[in-house]
């Protein structure tokens, strides 16, 4: 009898934990505890591919393009990181990094580290005479 009681209470606790685990993401979304990424596009318009493709495949595109550029000198603009930055840099900070930066805000949300900007400039090139 006593033995059964312990088993039943353990089962109840386990069930509660499972329920909580299932509910947690829902709760998180419902209460807006996790800040959503800020997608603020300075130059709205059509990206080089549709949004779904870009979200899923931009790392592969960049990786493919980087090898072509580095080793074969192919400098087409379509999938180049420089072009991404020149379109997606924030109008306020001029950068794709920073709290509301196009790259950083999404990568922080997804908890994926970006290595690109250890070497690459996060701001487009300043053209003489152009207004930032």
């Amino acid at each position: 009898m006593k033995h059964n009681g312990i088993g039943a209470s353990a089962g109840r606790i386990a069930r509660a934990i499972c329920l909580l685990a299932l509910l947690l993401p829902v709760l998180a979304f419902a209460s807006d505890r996790v800040p959503k990424p800020v997608i603020d596009i300075a130059r709205p318009g059509k990206c080089v591919e549709d949004t779904a493709t870009m979200r899923r495949e931009h790392p592969d595109m960049l990786k493919h393009q980087r090898d072509l550029t580095m080793h074969e000198g192919i400098r087409t603009q379509k999938h180049s990181l420089k072009e991404c930055i020149s379109c997606h840099a924030s109008t306020k900070t001029g950068s794709v990094l920073g709290n509301n930066g196009f790259c950083q805000s999404c990568h922080e949300y997804a908890s994926v580290k970006i290595d690109c900007f250890n070497c690459h400039a996060s701001k487009p090139k300043r053209i003489a005479g152009a207004t930032p």
């Binding site: 580095m70 080793h71 074969e72 000198g73 192919i74 400098r75 603009q77 930055i85 250890n118 690459h120």
Partner: protein, 248 residues
Amino acid sequence: MSADTNEVLSRRGFLAISAATLGGVMLAPGVRLIEIAAARAPEQPVSRKVRWGLLIDTNKCAPGCDDCVKACATENGLKNTGHPRTDAQWIRKVELKDMRTGRTNSVPVMCQHCEEPPCVDVCPTGASFKRADGIVLVDRHICIGCRYCMMACPYKARSIVFQSISDQNPDVPRGNGCAEGCTLCVHRVDRDQQPACVEACTKAGHNAMIFGDLNDPHSEIAQRVAKYASTQIRADLQLNPGVRYQGL
């Protein structure tokens, strides 16, 4: 409206063609006013037929002048971090003196873009590589910062970056922990421009540096190399550098 546009375009096309023809007129056998550039389209890979090279006339290179070094630093974003002994150095001026005759030379030395680059031989990851057109580069995506290439290079042309870098030139990505060296301003070369050092030298009126395709018999550099004596530094190593010196 469309007729107008057509007319404008055709006139522009005509002007371009006549300019090209005029430029192509030979002034003397083999010397053209403007080289008719066989420009490479951006989607076209670099060709093995091209061998980029530099010819440095040491007779015209003044001691103490560092216009090329400054231009390189500005173009490639090499900044003084306050650690001169370890700062990256892509090009430097070397002063030479023949102790017997007292003759002095001042020469800029950078990556010599060897045909048989030792830095490529020793690189354990394949980051150090030679492009088909003869430009020796470091692929920073693959570089692990082991510095074997720095040891292997007989010209001391490679550096390593010790500090985090920000505000790079978007055309020249550079970062902490990677080996690097002169790229012959590959980003400019791919746009049919001259390397920054050559441009600065010409702009200042020294005309001590010529950049061009060593394989193209019509290029100024190929003609100069064919006509005048030029030497490679440490030619005994048989690396066949693309950088040659006149008057050494």
